[in-house]
């Protein structure tokens, strides 16, 4: 075991995968000479060479399209979109090509590829370096969408994503990159895609979250336990699609109360699907209405600290909603 932050865990795992399998190639903007704007591919160019570590032109649709071609012809590309906010020009490739290749060819072609993208706010990223895109792609069958929130999960799920015969959108919350540290095994291990994880056990209510929000929930839960004696169970969604409804529902049935926390705009966010699933499947086990905490329905968060804070949930606001729900 070694203590690492999230970005180091991703770097080390990707490095290990490239060293182990020469079919794995990485491509994206600034990933070779610069080593990535977040240093995820630091040192890769020198070690693996320019045939496997590819600085692409500034063209996100191209990055995904080239990766599709590589995946069709025996490689396992791990494409980086520099910021999740910049994936929109590649929406056509992601939806029309990546998600449908297997389906439209009746299983003849598959795309073993990973698209990595740093997402989320809290880093003064303003409108175009803070976005949440998980709901957009969670809506598209054929692409798996994962949102690991800890160094352990990031490492284990990246291994699983690279091994997966289907395309995986691998979202890394950029605020967690250096903020969140944790123990990571030194030997290769996998965390399965499609499995949520109970990160904290509790009995009074269930908080369901992912990414940075997971850590806000964990902090708020610890505080409520200490200050109020309230026991909050925290479920880490980890995979947006396919969603692990079983783990979520089991926790909600146990505690009888559910708070869903997400950073994306509240309306039609991924939390809306989770809340709807709970309402559909666990209504008679609920002791209170499902509570959804999401970002305000404004186009995006602002650059000013005050505007960013007004957009983002934080441990205080999460703790308040937990307390309200516990007292319902």
């Amino acid at each position: 075991m070694t203590e690492k932050n999230v970005v180091t865990a991703i770097h080390d795992t990707l490095h290990e995968q490239m060293a182990a399998d020469d079919r794995v190639v990485v491509l994206g903007e600034d990933i070779a000479t610069r080593g990535g704007v977040f240093r995820v591919t630091q040192g890769f160019l020198d070690e693996f060479g320019q045939d496997r570590v590819i600085d692409t032109p500034l063209a996100e649709g191209g990055i995904i399209g080239f990766a599709v071609g590589m995946a069709l012809y025996g490689l396992v590309p791990v494409a980086e979109i520099e910021f999740a906010d910049f994936i929109h020009p590649a929406y056509d490739q992601m939806v029309s090509e990546v998600s449908r290749m297997r389906y439209r060819s009746n299983g003849d072609f598959g795309l073993p590829m990973v698209v990595r993208a740093p997402w989320g706010g809290g880093v003064h990223g303003a409108l175009y370096h803070s976005q949440s895109i998980e709901a957009t792609y969670g809506h598209i069958p054929g692409i798996k969408v994962v949102v690991p929130g800890t160094p352990y999960d990031a490492s284990g799920m990246l291994r699983a994503a690279i091994k997966d015969p289907d395309p995986v959108l691998f979202l890394e919350h950029k605020r967690t990159y250096r903020l969140i540290k944790g123990e990571v095994p030194d030997e290769p291990f996998e965390v399965p895609i499609g499995k949520a994880d109970v990160k904290r056990e509790g009995s009074d209510l269930t908080a369901i979250a992912y990414g940075l929000s997971l850590h806000l929930c964990l902090e708020a839960a610890a505080r409520l336990q200490e200050e109020q004696g309230i026991s909050v169970e925290v479920v880490d969604v980890r995979t947006i699609s396919p969603l692990d409804t079983e783990t979520i529902l089991a926790s909600v049935v146990k505690t009888g109360k559910a708070l869903v926390v997400y950073e994306d705009n509240r309306t039609y966010g991924a939390g809306a699907e989770i809340a709807a699933t709970i309402a559909e499947e666990a209504l008679f086990d609920l002791d209170a209405p499902v509570v959804r905490m999401g970002g305000p329905d404004v186009p995006a968060m602002g650059f000013a600290t005050s505007l960013e804070h007004a957009f983002m949930p934080n441990a205080d606001t999460v703790a308040e909603r937990m307390l309200e729900l516990a007292r319902f």
Partner: protein, 315 residues
């Protein structure tokens, strides 16, 4: 080559006949493009090189090894349609076995794929060449630029073929671009652009052969622009009378690539009228038989709708 051109034409004519009979809801015609398709498809090696076609490329997929029977399975949306099992509209080709890359309906999305495949082929140390076909309308798309740009930067083994029939559905070339020749755009990507008479199959063949040799030698891509014309509307659902005159269409048919190739073959003494007639008769009988076989094949099971969203294990 001549037989393949005739086969494509007869598939087209039969498809429209079946459309009018109510047996084929949707047809994407090829007629007029047989010369540029057969000419540019012929220099590639079936079973070895990779084909990245678009929806008009009946003759390209014939050269790659798809049979008329398989094409009609697609037209009738049958379960055994090799391209998609009846999921996609007809003429959305694909076959892993034949190296024909599955494509979608949005235009030019396959162009970056061709570049990526070429990268992978070279990385793997193979001498595979990728052929990538599209219309002139596709060259307005961002993805087209991104694909050619990347291929040019890295001198990838790919040949881009523009089948310029002057209309993207109804929009004529002067409203699509400010230049006369799509091939001029190649200069922006650092590789040669070549204009050929798309109705002269042998000119197309010569241009493609040189481009394939260049790609295989590691000298990078070529953009070939084949000037041609489509004789039918964009699809069976289009009415081209709203955007081009009947006189223009009839005039274009005087330049029919099949008629011209037949003249060349007879002039050169390779074929005579009798052997040409025999090709048409044999091909027609063959195509008609294969249509009947395809028509009698099974439809997809409704319960198969949910299959192949994700990997289901090795077959």
């Amino acid at each position: 080559m001549y037989r393949t051109m005739v086969t494509a034409r007869l598939i087209d004519e039969a498809s429209f006949r079946l459309n009018r009979q109510g047996k084929a809801p949707f047809v994407v015609p090829v007629s007029g493009h047989e010369g540029c398709q057969v000419g540019t498809g012929w220099p590639l090696r079936p079973g070895h090189d990779i084909w990245v076609p678009y929806y008009r490329d009946v003759a390209i997929v014939l050269i790659a090894g798809m049979t008329p029977y398989e094409i009609f399975l697609g037209l009738f949306a049958k379960a055994e349609d090799p391209s998609s099992g009846g999921r996609q509209m007809p003429s959305h080709w694909g076959s892993r076995r034949l190296g024909i890359i599955s494509h979608s309906s949005p235009i030019a999305t396959q162009v970056p794929h061709a570049a990526g495949i070429a990268w992978a082929a070279r990385y793997r140390g193979e001498d595979t060449v990728v052929g990538c076909w599209f219309g002139e309308g596709a060259t307005s798309e961002g993805g087209w630029h991104e694909g050619l740009n990347f291929a040019g930067i890295h001198k990838l083994p790919v040949v881009f073929v523009c089948e310029n029939n002057r209309y993207a559905i109804s929009v004529a070339q002067p409203m699509q671009m400010a230049i006369q020749n799509v091939a001029d755009r190649a200069a922006g990507y650092g590789f040669p652009g070549v204009v050929v008479d798309g109705n002269d199959v042998l000119s197309c063949y010569a241009a493609m052969k040189a481009a394939v040799e260049r790609a295989r030698a590691g000298d990078g891509p070529t953009l070939i622009e084949a000037k041609t014309y489509r004789y039918f509307p964009h699809t069976s659902d289009d009415d081209d009378r709203s955007y081009r005159t009947r006189e223009e269409v009839e005039e274009a048919k005087h330049n029919d690539p099949i008629v011209r190739f037949a003249q060349t073959l007879t002039e050169q003494g390779v074929m005579d009228d009798a052997s040409i007639d025999a090709v048409w008769a044999e091909t027609k009988a063959d195509v008609d038989t294969q249509i009947d076989q395809a028509w009698n094949a099974a439809d997809p099971e409704p319960s198969s709708l949910g299959r192949h969203v994700y990997f289901e294990g090795d077959a």
